[in-house]
């Protein structure tokens, strides 16, 4: 109570009353600086967002001079009955869950290890972070090459050499094996990002806590579970939410590695949307699909923060 009053008093004292005394201060100056960004945001984000909603109620024609017809909720009705779209949605969710968990576990493990390294920490950090800043196009082609069929593929070559498989696998011919390539790319490319975030959190934990726990006779596993994990809880949540949103937006890797094939079985929400819009020129339908996806993402994100994000449970030290 007493502390609070002091802080409030201190704040009051810091109120910048002298600012108002400055002769050239104008109330609108901050707005002038804010407006350009706001205008760009309205023009490039908000306007297209609503325009797309508008498009989703039409059989939209993109060629100038052709007439678009209003179809009401027909595009949404088609979407709800479209089996391929729901397959694409469930593929997207599965992709998000598998790659997010994979990235978090791998990223955390690497962060713990890198945190222990005394010599060359920067080197390892850079090496593991490198895939994050590499172009999706480049690494997708790299993975197509790694997962080539027959004995010419590196993965096939290694697996047959060490005797895991007898015959080389045609990875892209079946959706189950094609996913292996897509998932592993997603995890490999993203783990560096969660590693860096986890590493920063780990370095913020005071070493005394571990020392005290060691004196109390705890083993490494107990220290990880009872000290590290609770202390970086909010970081874990942040990484989880951010990666989930990213996972739902998987696009380039799938487009380039399988193109949604075979038979649309590896289609994800965005590749399917792209195919309907730019492949079949059904832009109204594509817009409707994107709105359904947007609703799903919002629901998932809100649920996540509700479930894991309750305030006031942070461990303090």
């Amino acid at each position: 109570m007493g502390t609070n009053t002091t802080i409030a008093a201190a704040r009051r004292q810091r109120t910048p009353s002298r600012d108002r005394a400055k002769p050239y201060y104008r109330w609108y100056v901050p707005y002038l600086f804010l407006i350009p960004g706001l205008v760009l945001y309205l023009l490039w984000t908000v306007y297209p967002l609503f325009y797309q909603l508008y498009i989703s109620f039409f059989d939209w024609k993109i060629i100038p001079g052709q007439e678009s017809t209003f179809v009401g909720f027909a595009n949404y009705q088609t979407a709800f009955a479209d089996k391929t779209f729901w397959l694409a949605m469930s593929n997207t969710v599965t992709y998000a869950i598998i790659t997010v968990i994979g990235q978090m576990i791998a990223g955390f493990a690497v962060a713990v290890l890198v945190n222990r390294v005394l010599v060359g920490r920067r080197f390892f950090r850079t090496v593991y972070y490198l895939p994050v800043v590499t172009s999706w196009v480049v690494v997708s082609f790299l993975f197509i090459y790694l997962f080539s069929p027959g004995n010419s593929g590196l993965i096939n070559y290694i697996l047959t050499q060490i005797g895991v498989i007898k015959e080389p696998i045609s990875w892209m011919a079946n959706s189950s094996t094609a996913w292996v390539a897509i998932y592993s790319l997603g995890i490999w490319k993203g783990l560096g990002w969660s590693m860096v975030i986890f590493l920063a959190a780990l370095q913020g934990i005071p070493a005394e806590l571990y020392e005290a726990a060691a004196i109390d006779g705890t083993n490494e596993w107990q220290r990880l579970l009872h000290i590290t994990m609770p202390l970086i809880r909010r970081t874990i949540l942040f990484v989880f939410v951010a990666l989930m949103i990213g996972g739902f937006q998987v696009f380039l890797s799938v487009l380039l590695i399988t193109g949604g094939g075979p038979l649309h079985r590896t289609e994800v929400a965005l590749t399917y949307m792209f195919d309907r819009s730019f492949g079949q020129l059904k832009f109204g339908y594509g817009a409707a699909l994107s709105y359904i996806l947007a609703v799903v993402i919002v629901v998932v994100s809100v649920t996540q923060t509700r479930l894991f994000g309750r305030r006031g449970q942070d461990v303090e030290y």
Partner: protein, 405 residues
């Protein structure tokens, strides 16, 4: 006062001079998919465009090469924005769709001397430019696929599909008699036609009774059996197998290839002995698929006259002959009597195959029809559906597409 005058003169110069210069030289954009790896693109940019520009000092041609994958989308989105190419080298299967979308110029109406050019080319390739009683382009090059085999492992090419199937018995493990990259029309239609089947009736009004007819079903079943027995490669089910790599490595005995195969082979495997024969015959004969490109002008071109002048140039014997030298088979009937073609080492077999080759369904919905057909065949090849069942379902869907729904 004097300064004002000087300033106005300078300003005027800045406005007027560039404007008059711009009137003098017009730049037209030519979008195409000439292969940048093989010598096609080089012939265009180093020989043909300079030749055209020398004869037309007021026109500059900007060559914009695209990879084939994604070209259709690039063209459609550019058309949507009212931007993009003046002249396009367009795959013949896209012409009806693009004409129906209203993004191609009606050349039979806008080009005064159109008939003269139409009379000079083969009627088959010309017909791929027709839509709704008008012509929206001229043929640029034509081609077909013939059976390219490796004489080292296949001393005699099979004349019939039965002969090919019989070779299966002696096939060593890890080798394939034949390979292709999927079940798209370009790959499976030669088999369907050679079996005597088809996708639609000749009037392109109906698929039922054709795509699910006895012979088409038998063709799809045949490919499925061959893939299952390991005689044809699993490239058919989209494994991404490198067919050319397997062919030059000796594990793939034969494949269907177009004339562009030779320039690449000559530059990369000059010592490899290549054999070529007609597509193996079935009940329908040795039928292959017609490919090729048309030259079209976009409806939104701001320089239609210059664009049409370039179209005329592509129909000249010089252009056609130069491109024929790099694997782009000519569409000019007069040119076949030219010494170059009479003595040519490999065009003979392609010209012979073209006698019986068929064109893919010239319909605005072809892209969707092809997807339905390919997906149905894919289900059969994967053993997930019987051939009859899959083709019955495809017939229903294609009928709906033909009816325009």
């Amino acid at each position: 006062m004097k300064t004002k005058l000087v300033l106005s003169v300078i300003v005027l110069l800045f406005i007027v001079v560039p404007a008059t210069l711009a009137q003098d030289v017009v730049t037209i954009k030519f979008w195409h998919t000439y292969n940048e790896v093989s010598p096609e693109n080089q012939t265009l940019t180093d020989t043909l465009i300079p030749m055209f520009e020398a004869a037309h000092p007021n026109i500059k041609v900007e060559s914009v090469p695209y990879p084939y994958d994604g070209f259709r989308q690039a063209l459609l989105t550019a058309a949507a924005g009212g931007e993009g190419a003046d002249v396009v080298r367009l795959d013949i299967i896209w012409s009806p769709e693009f004409a129906a979308q209203g993004i191609l110029m009606n050349l039979s109406e806008k080009m005064s001397d159109f008939q003269q050019y139409a009379d000079a080319v083969f009627p088959g390739p010309l017909s791929t430019n027709a839509y709704d009683g008008a012509y929206y382009g001229l043929p640029l090059d034509t081609n077909t696929r013939v059976l390219v085999y490796n004489p080292a492992v296949m001393p005699e090419p099979p004349k019939t599909i039965d002969e090919l199937a019989a070779m299966c018995a002696d096939l060593p493990e890890g080798s394939f008699l034949f390979s292709d990259g999927g079940t798209y029309g370009w790959a499976i239609l030669p088999w369907i036609w050679s079996f005597g089947g088809d996708v639609t009736d000749p009037e392109i009004a109906m698929a039922t009774g054709y795509v699910n007819g006895e012979k088409t079903v038998a063709a799809v079943q045949f490919i499925a059996d061959m893939v299952k027995d390991g005689c044809f490669s699993d490239g058919f089910i989209g494994s991404g197998l490198d067919t050319w790599g397997g062919y030059f490595g000796g594990t793939i005995y034969s494949m269907l290839e177009g004339p562009w195969f030779y320039p690449t082979q000559e530059s990369q495997y000059p010592d490899f002995k290549v054999g070529a024969a007609l597509m193996p015959a079935g009940e329908g004969g040795p039928v292959s698929v017609v490919g090729g490109e048309n030259i079209v002008v976009s409806a939104s071109s701001t320089h239609p006259d210059e664009a049409m002048e370039f179209v005329r140039f592509t129909q000249s014997e010089e252009y056609q002959l130069e491109m024929s030298k790099v694997g782009q088979l000519t569409v000019l009937s007069s040119l076949l009597k030219n010494e170059y073609f009479v003595n040519h080492p490999y065009y003979g077999i392609f010209l012979e195959q073209l006698q019986t080759a068929k064109a893919r369904t010239p319909h605005p919905a072809y892209t969707q029809i092809e997807t339905v057909l390919g997906d149905a065949a894919q289900l059969v090849l994967r053993g997930e559906m019987s051939a009859q069942e899959a083709m019955d379902a495809a017939a229903e869907e294609i009928d709906a597409l033909l009816a325009g729904s």
